[in-house]
Amino acid sequence: MSEKAPVICPVCGKHAKTGSAIDCARHMFGTGDKAHKEWVDAQGLSFIDLLIEQATTPGNKSYELLAEYIEKAQGKK
């Protein structure tokens, strides 16, 4: 069984704290600068809508959704 490669931020190349895509999603929301926002929007998502969704509903849906996109992007490399 091969170990998953640690996830790195598709925008700034930062290594996720635990190597997971969800941590990378947290990093992207937490940074929230223009470059990170634009990358999220370019995936067909809306950075701000995801943020509001995370804020107004229980659970971690926005982070999980963004993590999926980050994993996909990681897979393409």
Binding site: L51, I52, Q54, G59
Partner: protein
């Protein structure tokens, strides 16, 4: 205090500023008068949100006695500044705005005149054309797509977000046998310092600026003013000798300091601006109001598993220290408990209201109002003892808050014992009374460096004069909390001299080392460590001369295994304390030995490898006995006990004063201090309608001191006085819950809220009977 091993620490030392204060000799900024001084007044926005199209002050300039007028556009660099200097996006406030106002009361222009009355009258002669814009006042409205944009580029008015998470929160919720969720609305609160915002600025033709200012961090003010005026820090001197309260509201730039400096620079004369009480209410800052969603999952035996919080804060018009308050409310919402999974999502939203910022407790009172009430309700839902449920889930020494903090000392367990005993001793209460409890913990100084200082967080210098008196220089700021006394105690104890030997110099950036100042309960630990280090340095230098002249000290010569020390001005052989020499004599020997140079000791402190938040944490549990009038909904506080772990007490009288003061502020936050806004306007900006707790309303505030030893603190000391602002609102809410079974989800808890809750409860009971 029995068996106190110290000579000065934890003894009854009077405040070293006490004589000056009680005899009226203390010079506050309000008292400063300089030759040729002018008086300034500020024209403020009447609109919550508007563009400034034109300002015409020609008539004001013609008014007899007016010397000058300044506006943001004509007389300032238009620099957007903020205390979060590392993050340019969060530097969003111009103080004297250039082209747009974002809250009622925002400075628009300033006048300098021969008298305050003339300046006041001249304000009416300034004509401002505004284009009024749509405004938004609540965060839940501010995030809507159709909400007006308050700051360009901040979509949905989201100013800052914070996410804190550890463990697998979702899995922990899955495992929970009982889950409860609640929404809370937590109020703002005004700092109401006895001394309003005040400044005297004196710019001289040689390009130097001296500012007398009421603040809690002269270094911050010096650096921020340099940034907005385009000057070098070293050319600006800030003096804040006596400060009449600050409580977290006075370490950002305010209209008084900025406008007086701009006027002084333009007119080359000193300018004094003192805020009226109304100005202080409407145009300073306030504790951050919040909407709090809390979901908690536990086992049926009361074991805490998971917690999730979603928080929207009403940030008002600018960032200020509100970004820090957002993070800290998220962190302290977990306190003082262990959670397998914890998740916090915080959103600070711009609105067209008075900016919100830090205030004593720094986001934690809001967190504890929600957390500690919900925990009480969970205990009731599950039929568990609320104290024992808290106890089994609490922090302990050595516990690590995952990824956030390591707990050094922790006396929360003893706190539970004290409050349990207090409740037991109370016996049966009258029908109209009940006891509420609330636990919490708090930081001892912040580790974060959002200000981007290149200096050590704290520094101190000790100089010994030929007669043995000691000059102690610190950059710390005493704003009434007694830090000058605490630092002098640490110096006296460490050096082995008396309190009357110490002359403390602070609050002057020209003569004192930089220090981050008084916020986040940092000075006893951080500046205290710097003072201890400086005093140890000086003492070591002195003792080197004592060892070199051992025959004088020890009379018979000194064996290499013997140690010398100084205590109560007596330099002695530790093994034979009766053998020694007077400290003054040693000082003279040292002075000669150093060819006439004074001994100078230096110390500094910056936390390293202490986690994300703070080097140390205090813990406390509070019990409040509350009487509630069922007919009127009025609350009366009858009695209280706080079991408080502040490590080793240093300044005992100061500690008691701090804890009493914190209780009064916390009680006000719980049930009295209400800030209603209508269309962005504060409706009660005066001390008649804004109800703070009065002396006759204060209950006894007993304290059970839980002495622990904090390894990071000087002599084992840690926070006291700020953390105690955190538990009281929840304790009052919990007392009401135990009295009537109603849950108070908004504060301050006002009489009409209690009556409404009782009415609702009766209706529900009636409906239940009909079924």
């Amino acid at each position: 205090m029995d068996n106190n091993k110290y000579s000065v620490i934890n003894t009854h030392v009077h405040n070293i500023d006490g004589f000056a204060k009680v005899t009226g000799r203390a010079t506050y900024t309000f008292d400063v008068t300089l030759p040729n001084m002018l008086y300034g007044k500020i024209l403020r926005s009447p609109h919550p949100h508007a563009k400034i199209l034109k300002i015409d002050y020609s008539k004001a300039l013609e008014f007899p006695g007016v010397v000058g007028v300044v506006t943001g556009k004509e007389d300032t660099l238009g620099v957007k500044q903020g205390i979060w200097r590392r993050y340019q996006d969060l530097c969003d406030e111009q103080v004297l705005t250039v082209d747009k106002v974002r809250y009622i009361g925002e400075p628009v222009a300033a006048v300098a005149a021969l008298t305050e009355d003339i300046a006041e009258q001249a304000l009416d002669l300034i004509e401002v054309d505004y284009e009024v814009l749509p405004a938004v006042y609540e965060p839940m409205e501010g995030i809507k797509k159709e909400a007006p944009e308050i700051h360009e580029g901040f979509e949905r008015n989201i100013n800052v977000t914070r996410h804190i998470e550890w463990g697998d929160t979702d899995a922990a919720f899955e495992e929970a046998e009982y889950v409860r969720e609640d929404w809370f609305k937590v109020g703002g609160q005004h700092h109401v310092s006895m001394e309003t915002r005040a400044a005297v600025s004196d710019y001289t033709p040689d390009g130097k600026l001296t500012i007398y200012h009421s603040n809690q961090s002269p270094y911050y003010l010096q650096a921020l003013m340099a940034g907005v005026l385009g000057m070098r820090e070293g050319d600006i001197r800030v003096i804040s000798r006596y400060v009449g309260g600050a409580f977290g509201g006075k370490f950002e730039l305010d209209g008084a300091i900025f406008c007086s400096a701009v006027l002084s620079k333009k007119l080359n004369r000193p300018v004094k601006i003192i805020y009226t009480r109304e100005e202080d209410f409407i145009a300073s800052k306030r504790r951050t109001p919040m909407f709090y969603y809390v979901r908690t999952g536990v086992k049926k035996d009361g074991t805490f598993l998971a917690r999730e919080a979603k928080v929207f804060t009403n940030g008002g018009a600018y960032t200020g220290m509100g970004a820090t308050a957002l993070y800290l409310t998220g962190f302290f919402h977990s306190f003082p408990y262990r959670w397998r999974g914890y998740r916090f999502d915080g959103y600070r939203v711009y609105t067209n209201t008075l900016p919100s910022t830090s205030m004593r407790g720094f986001g934690a009172p809001q967190a504890m109002f929600t957390s500690e009430q919900q925990i009480e309700w969970i205990a009731a839902d599950l039929g568990l003892d609320p104290i024992e449920m808290r106890r089994k889930n609490s922090h302990y020494p050595g516990y690590e808050v995952p990824g956030q903090a390591t707990i050094g000392s922790c006396g929360i367990d003893q706190c539970y014992d004290e409050i349990q005993k207090w409740i037991k001793d109370k016996g049966t209460l009258p029908d109209n009374r009940a006891i509420g409890i609330s636990a919490c913990g708090f930081m001892t100084g912040g580790i974060f460096n959002w200000f981007d200082t290149p200096y050590a967080f704290s520094a101190a210098m000790v100089t010994i004069n030929q007669d043995g008196t000691v000059e102690l220089h610190v950059g710390a700021q005493d704003m009434g909390q007694g830090s000058n006394t605490t630092l002098a105690i640490i110096c006296a104890e460490t050096l082995g001299v008396k309190m009357e030997d110490i002359k403390l110099h602070a609050s002057d950036t020209d003569h004192c080392p930089p220090d981050l100042g008084a916020w986040g309960s940092r000075q006893t630990l951080m500046t205290g460590n710097a003072v201890k280090m400086a005093a140890e340095d000086a003492k070591k230098q002195l003792l080197e001369f004592a060892y070199a002249h051992a025959h004088i000290v020890s009379k018979t010569g000194l064996n290499i295994v013997y140690d010398l020390d100084i205590k109560d001005r007596w330099v002695h052989n530790v093994a034979r304390p009766e053998r020694g020499v007077d400290y003054s004599e040693l000082v003279r020997i040292a002075l000669r030995g150093k060819e006439g140079q004074k001994i100078v000791g230096r110390g500094f402190y910056t936390p390293h490898r202490k986690g994300m938040i703070s080097p140390a944490y205090s813990y406390m549990l509070q019990g409040v006995e509350v009487e509630i009038d069922e007919e009127t909904g009025k609350i009366r506080l009858i009695d209280s006990l706080t079991a408080h772990d502040c490590g080793q007490p240093i300044n005992h009288l100061g500690l008691i004063g701090q804890l009493e003061g914190a209780f009064s502020m916390a009680a006000g936050y719980g049930y009295l201090e209400y800030m209603p806004f209508e269309d962005g306007m504060l409706m009660n900006p005066n001390l008649v309608d804004y109800h703070m707790i009065r002396a006759t309303e204060m209950p006894p505030t007993a304290v059970a001191e839980i002495d622990t030893y904090e390894p990071e603190g000087p002599y084992g000391a840690k926070e006291a006085g700020e953390g105690l602002t955190n538990p009281t609102a929840a304790a009052i809410g919990n007392a009401i819950f135990h009295r009537f079974g109603v849950q108070m989800k908004e504060n301050p808890i006002r009489p009409e809220m209690i009556l409404n809750a009782l009415k609702e409860k009766k209706e529900q009971e009636k409906a239940g009977k009909k079924k």
